[in-house]
């Protein structure tokens, strides 16, 4: 067993193990990838057919055209941008003939670099462009027709144009005590300020920074938090544990127990003694007659649960003794023996009333014929004691004292 001097030894080993480490991916993963990649990417040509960039401006200004994608973290990433000074009040933007995009979600954004306009949203327009779309419909005119003549520009002079990037970082943070709760759990939703809480369309709480969400059924629940300025949301996925222990195999006392869902792993106990950890199934040999409790504490499910399974082991062995025997060749109880099957150990000793041993054997098939050790003198009629020690398979050893009567014809 290797020893680590400090955590960096572990980290180095881990790094080494992980570099090039390969795990077989789920078999159906490719199907989804294949269907989504068949159409993405390419060259968007004739941009003007997607984007009617005829712009009517009441006020002149600098126009910025940005072409970009929504990045992995939800920000608008500019691929290309160019500035067009707009000197005339009405003009048509000359957009490039084509742009290359690598994404299905390419956005062309046209914005005025003039921040004196009424609302920041009104001087910006975005349109998603699907690459390789063969017959794009002509878009509506870009709503850059902004009338600033009636507005009061001085109020907004210093307000920067809100970009998507700014927007995505401003919502109040809402946190849930648990995003993957179980049925029956109560989740505390907290916001950084007071506001109203909605579950889908229904208002569930007003003017509070915290809400206790009761999770009654499985499903995904989207909670919205609204303040005067902003709406933000979070989703809770309520799950329930469904599963059981399955006895998959049993022969000759060898059992195999598994969990009904193959992805589950558990710590396993047999009769409350830890048997195996971190295992999807166990192989067990059970020998003792009687009830055995198999317990699995599921550890990789959010609604972790303890499952039990009882195994009843039927007796294998059998023991029966009579207490009377007649010597003679009448065919009935001619020798004394007990009936035993399915045993591990056996011995019988027979004593007379003076406690002297008259017969003993380890073989249950060998009966007592009424003579001392089956060879000596015949024992008289009367009372005898047989002491039988035996152990049946899967059971505890037993000693039985049998009072038996010897009858002679």
């Amino acid at each position: 067993m290797p020893k680590f001097n400090d955590i960096s030894d572990f980290e180095n080993l881990l790094k080494e193990q992980m570099s090039g480490h390969s795990a077989p991916p789920p078999v159906d993963a490719w199907t989804a990838i294949s269907s989504s990649t068949a159409q993405a990417g390419g060259i968007i040509s004739s941009l003007s057919t997607y984007f009617n960039a005829s712009v009517t401006l009441v006020k002149t200004g600098l126009i910025i055209v940005s072409i970009g994608t929504i990045s992995t973290v939800g920000y608008f990433q500019t691929i290309n941008s160019f500035e067009i000074p707009q000197t005339k009040e009405e003009n048509t933007l000359s957009l490039p003939e084509s742009i290359t995009t690598d994404s299905q979600s390419t956005f062309v954004t046209i914005e005025l670099a003039d921040n004196t306009i009424k609302s920041p949203n009104e001087n910006r327009t975005s349109r998603r462009v699907d690459s390789k779309k063969t017959n794009p419909s002509r878009s509506a005119s870009v709503p850059l027709t902004v009338d600033t003549s009636s507005s009061t520009p001085q109020n907004y002079t210093n307000q920067p144009i809100k970009t998507l990037e700014n927007k995505s970082s401003t919502p109040p943070r809402i946190t849930a005590s648990n995003y993957n709760p179980c049925v029956g759990e109560t989740v505390v939703l907290k916001a950084s300020e007071k506001g109203d809480w909605f579950l889908n369309e229904t208002k569930v709480a007003s003017n509070t920074a915290a809400y206790n969400a009761q999770c009654r059924d499985i499903g995904t629940y989207t909670y919205y938090f609204k303040t005067a300025e902003i709406t933000t949301r979070t989703s809770l996925t309520v799950t329930e544990f469904n599963g059981q222990i399955i006895k998959t195999q049993a022969e000759n006392g060898h059992y195999s127990f598994s969990l009904s869902n193959q992805n589950l792993i558990a710590n396993w106990f047999i009769n409350n003694k830890l048997y195996s950890t971190n295992a999807p199934f166990i192989n067990v040999t059970l020998e003792t007659v009687g009830k055995h409790q198999i317990k699995a504490v599921v550890i990789n499910h959010p609604c972790s649960k303890t499952l039990t399974f009882d195994v009843q082991l039927a007796p294998i062995g059998h023991f029966e003794a009579i207490n009377i025997f007649t010597v003679g060749n009448d065919g009935l109880n001619d020798t004394y023996k007990v009936n035993i099957s399915g045993y591990d150990n056996f011995s019988i000793q027979i004593f007379n009333s003076n406690s002297n041993l008259v017969f003993s054997t380890l073989d249950p098939e060998e009966g007592w014929d009424g003579r001392i050790n089956n060879i000596g003198i015949e024992c008289p009629q009367g009372e005898y004691f047989a002491r039988v020690s035996y152990k049946l398979k899967g059971e505890l050893p037993q000693i039985k004292n049998i009072k038996l009567t010897l009858l002679r014809p």
């Binding site: 680590f4 980290e11 480490h21 795990a23 991916p25 690598d102 946190t175």
Partner: protein, 180 residues
């Protein structure tokens, strides 16, 4: 990688950037195992890892034309899968656990089984770290991101990143105490 293999890879990548779907399938077959391993390390369960794997490959396909042949192709792909995993974690609103360390023994530790501390066991150990610890630990220790980069990616303070790493290491030390 031998020159011929690397030549193969270059032609595969070029075919793929021209939209050749069969070439992409070949790239998938070669690299999906390694990439799935990365996803498993970052995500909580196999379902999430599968989602990240799918999304990552879609991104690879979409941006393979951008690959400059300057560094290793696998390294470039790895970065995409790490980013995709982080993006998914962000979607689920990563919150950083400020609670005390769990000083209990790892309930299901591979330690009980002793023997070799192999890749699967180590991976399982990392998977059991709380989400915040795990993400930072994965990025910093295994995938070699700096605290600055981590703080940018996860939109957290650099000090938060450092403290998460510190806690992750502490937690692992507790779990691995018999190995020291």
């Amino acid at each position: 990688m031998s020159p011929s293999e690397s030549h193969d890879e270059i032609s595969l990548i070029k075919a793929c950037s021209n939209g050749d779907h069969n070439a992409f399938k070949k790239i998938y077959d070669i690299h999906s195992g390694t990439m799935y391993s990365i996803c498993l390390r970052y995500m909580t369960n196999e379902d999430e890892a599968k989602d990240a794997l799918q999304e990552g490959f879609i991104k690879v396909f979409n941006s393979i034309g951008k690959f400059q042949f300057t560094g290793s192709f696998e390294g470039w792909m790895k970065r995409i899968f790490v980013n995709t995993s982080i993006e998914q974690i962000r979607k689920r609103k990563l919150h950083f656990d400020v609670s005390e360390l769990n000083t209990n023994e790892l309930p299901l530790t591979s330690r009980i089984e002793t023997g070799k501390l192999d890749a699967e066991k180590m991976m399982r150990l990392v998977q059991q770290l709380p989400l915040g610890y795990r993400t930072v630990f994965n990025m910093f220790v295994i995938d070699g991101y700096s605290h600055k980069e981590i703080s940018d990616y996860l939109n957290i303070n650099e000090n938060t990143s450092k403290s998460q790493l510190f806690k992750a290491r502490k937690q692992l030390q507790i779990w691995l105490k018999d190995w020291f």
